[in-house]
């Protein structure tokens, strides 16, 4: 491409000055950007209102697209289902029979569980979802893993609430706008979640790695008891999540735990439920500095 004539600003003082001012403005812009970046890294809540407002403003576009996305996915699944309909039907029938038996057993266990809880004087609180909404978007180009939810403050959503799909935990509300909210997904490098192995009491932290996998870090170090295929569920520690919700399945064993895949892929879910914070007292207790707690 030929160079534009603009570069040679000739003897015109006006042209020379406007070129010079452009450079100054560009430098100043970069500088302001650096300051804003430092500010938003240092105080994440300070400037987050802006992007919340922007998401609210974009809701008329993102909501219908999300609806169309989930509907088209259903259609594709339906077409795909025809391919192996016969053999799959037989396999599913066998699986269904087994599942019915297991379900009956589970009902018996649930009944016994309720009786024992009654004996101990524990009351069972079934958490009702605050709201049910679609994931309308995500930060697909950024290395952070956020999703945008089509419900916000006006639907009762608040910062810190857990988000789950029918399969398992999706993430946690990070910031809320009026009609939209930002969800920190489990795979984000800043996400940490206390979990335990589903079949026993091995406790660990599930941390996002930033490459789609979850790093399971055991709290009690020693002989690593994990095996590939172990399912991890929320332990309820920390007070945010209900205990017993599926999180991840271990695929590879490491020195201090395992690498795991998430159970509930946000890209495959259509609707998600926002649950209330499991134990708000525990959360505020953990947030209170020890000095103030002692002072009171």
């Amino acid at each position: 491409m030929a160079p534009t004539g603009q570069r040679r600003s000739s003897y015109s003082r006006k042209a020379q000055y406007s070129l010079f001012t452009g450079y100054i403005a560009a430098g100043a812009g970069a500088l302001v950007g650096a300051v804003l970046l430092g500010l938003s890294l240092w105080q994440p809540g300070f400037l987050s209102g802006l992007s919340g407002t922007a998401q609210d403003a974009a809701a008329p576009v993102t909501q219908p697209v999300a609806a169309a996305r989930t509907e088209s996915k259903g259609f594709i699944d339906a077409v795909r289902g025809y391919y192996r309909a016969g053999s799959q039907n037989a396999a599913l029938k066998r699986e269904m029979e087994l599942a019915r038996i297991r379900l009956a057993e589970a009902a018996a266990v649930k009944q016994e569980n309720r009786r024992l809880r009654g004996l101990l004087g524990l009351h069972e609180s079934e958490a009702r979802p605050v709201t049910i909404a679609r994931l309308v978007g995500a930060s697909a180009a950024s290395s952070r893993r956020f999703a945008y939810l089509g419900a916000g403050r006006s639907d009762g959503v608040a910062v810190g609430m857990p988000v789950r799909s029918p399969r398992g935990v999706v993430g946690r509300i990070l910031e809320v706008g009026n009609h939209s909210a930002r969800v920190l997904l489990l795979t984000d490098p800043e996400s940490v979640l206390p979990v335990r192995r589903a079949k026993d009491e091995v406790v660990a932290f599930a941390e996002g790695r930033g490459d789609g996998l979850i790093r399971i870090r055991l709290i009690n170090l020693g002989i690593n008891p994990l095996e590939p295929g172990d399912l991890f569920v929320t332990s309820g520690a920390g007070g945010y999540y209900q205990p017993g919700v599926a999180v991840a399945i271990a695929t590879e064993i490491t020195d201090d735990g395992a690498l795991a895949r998430i159970v509930s892929d946000p890209a495959a879910t259509d609707y998600v439920a926002v649950l209330p914070i499991f134990e708000p007292e525990a959360v505020t207790g953990a947030d209170t500095p020890i000095e103030r707690e002692l002072g009171e």
């Binding site: 970069a30 996305r69 995500a138 180009a141």
Partner: protein, 184 residues
């Protein structure tokens, strides 16, 4: 009778007689296309990896390299601000990186005034090679080796898709300079 000069009545930008370019369209099209491209990645739900290229940044680079002299050097500031609102990056990261990229392209242009497309693609590739990891460093997440490796697909995809954006910008530029306005 054969026409003596067939281009005299119309050319690639439409009819020439009685028509003129629209100032509004000519000004708005580059900015609007970059804003739309900034917003597009929101629609892809990606849980595992950042796979979608930074479309807004690619569009900015394409406009800057394919049509030099159109975007001012300081254009990175307002356009980056909009990108930050939707990209999930902390506010200020695109402002800083886009402004820096505009200044770098300006310097490259001073050094190499005459360039071929291959050279432009090389420039864009180098800038993307710095931009994508830099965006990860300032994203606020912990920069681990695994996260760095995970950027690979996005990076390769971004560099490969640049010629497509260059062609798109060429098309948009033709649209921009079409004679929309009727004179008289």
């Amino acid at each position: 009778m054969d026409r003596f000069a067939p281009k005299s009545r119309s050319d690639a930008y439409g009819k020439r007689i009685n028509r003129s370019h629209s100032t509004a369209v000519a000004t708005v099209v580059p900015y609007l296309s970059i804003l739309i491209a900034s917003f597009l990645p929101v629609f892809f739900i990606a849980a595992a990896l950042p796979i979608v290229p930074p479309l807004g940044f690619l569009m900015l680079l394409a406009w800057r390299l394919v049509r030099p002299g159109l975007l001012p050097v300081w254009a990175g500031f307002p356009l980056g601000l909009f990108d930050d609102l939707f990209s999930g990056q902390p506010l200020g990261s695109a402002i800083l990186l886009w402004s820096a990229a505009m200044i770098v392209v300006e310097m490259v242009e001073t050094r190499f005034p005459w360039r071929s497309f291959a050279q432009d693609w090389f420039t864009a590739g180098l800038i993307l090679l710095v931009y994508v990891p830099a965006a990860m460093l300032v994203s606020g997440g912990e920069p681990t080796l695994a996260a760095l490796v995970a950027l690979g697909p996005q990076l390769v995809f971004s560099i490969l898709v640049f010629p497509l954006f260059a062609r798109l910008v060429a098309r948009l530029d033709r649209l921009r300079l079409t004679r929309w306005r009727t004179v008289g």
